[in-house]
């Protein structure tokens, strides 16, 4: 019984995402990344995940794109009560999920990551400001 996280994508995004997550958060032995290569079979990815999990695992699959062939293929795993598939993955969401506690509500983690998608503009602050330090 363990928590298993899969990143799945078209081409190398999932593998690169895992490397990016690990650069920030360290090695993640419970994360596995699969990428669909051009001409490849998305069902092969799903078969590999199926072979790796059992009914006692908590499985979270982060897919790249809703409606894309990889997420479409993985959809059939979501009939299992212990599998959650989330589409629209980015680095913020991947970190949010990887660093969340096993009891965390995934809807909350998605909302937190969604808040990180925004325009950034520098708010110029005063130098040597210690207001609010204590």
């Amino acid at each position: 019984m363990s928590r298993k996280i899969y990143f799945i994508s078209h081409n190398d995004f999932a593998k690169g995402l895992k490397r990016s997550v690990e650069m920030i958060a360290g090695k993640q032995p419970n994360v596995t990344a699969y990428g669909l290569e051009p001409g490849g079979d998305p069902n092969e990815i799903v078969r590999q995940i199926e072979a790796d999990i059992d009914t006692t695992d908590t499985v979270i699959i982060l897919g790249d794109l809703e409606g894309g062939s990889v997420c479409n293929a993985a959809l059939r795993l979501t009939v299992r009560p212990n599998v959650t598939l989330i589409a629209g993955t980015n680095l913020a969401l991947a970190l949010q999920v990887v660093l969340s506690s096993p009891e965390a509500n995934l809807d909350d983690e998605i909302e937190e990551a969604r808040k990180r998608i925004k325009k950034l503009k520098l708010k110029v602050s005063a130098v040597n400001d210690v207001e609010g330090l204590f």
Binding site: L122, A126, F134
Partner: protein, 162 residues
Amino acid sequence: MIKMLRIDDRLIHGQVAVTWSKQLAVNRIIVVSDSISQDPIQVSALKMAAPEGIKAFILPVDKAAKMLNDPRADRLQVLLVMNNPVEVAQLLSELTTQPSVLDVANYGRVAGIEGRHKITDTVYLSDDEVTIFKTMATKGSHFIYQPLPNDAVKSVDELLEG
């Protein structure tokens, strides 16, 4: 209390903002640098890089020491981030209570590794900087090398011997 002093060229970035701040459960991140603290653009960007719920301050060495020596600082959970070993030695000599952990994580690659010795994959020190770390060690300031919480802890004293 100062939970950790981290030497990191990249100052407040993902490893610090996302990972260490959670691990150490800090509520203040203080970047200490004489030069950066006087640059409004860098100060502003660093403040924006702090994670939600954690206040960031960017202060010169003297002012940081004064604030951290204030008795009210005992109640705070502080992560110090610095990018200059000379200033680190200066700050440590001015602090009445030393940080719980001294960690050098990323150093020397931003300024350029030319003329620096490779100590680890992410730490490069010049001869002068090696001397600074050895001098700090003789005064009881022993650094570790641990970029991320689940990385093995290595003794910088031993790395400098090897």
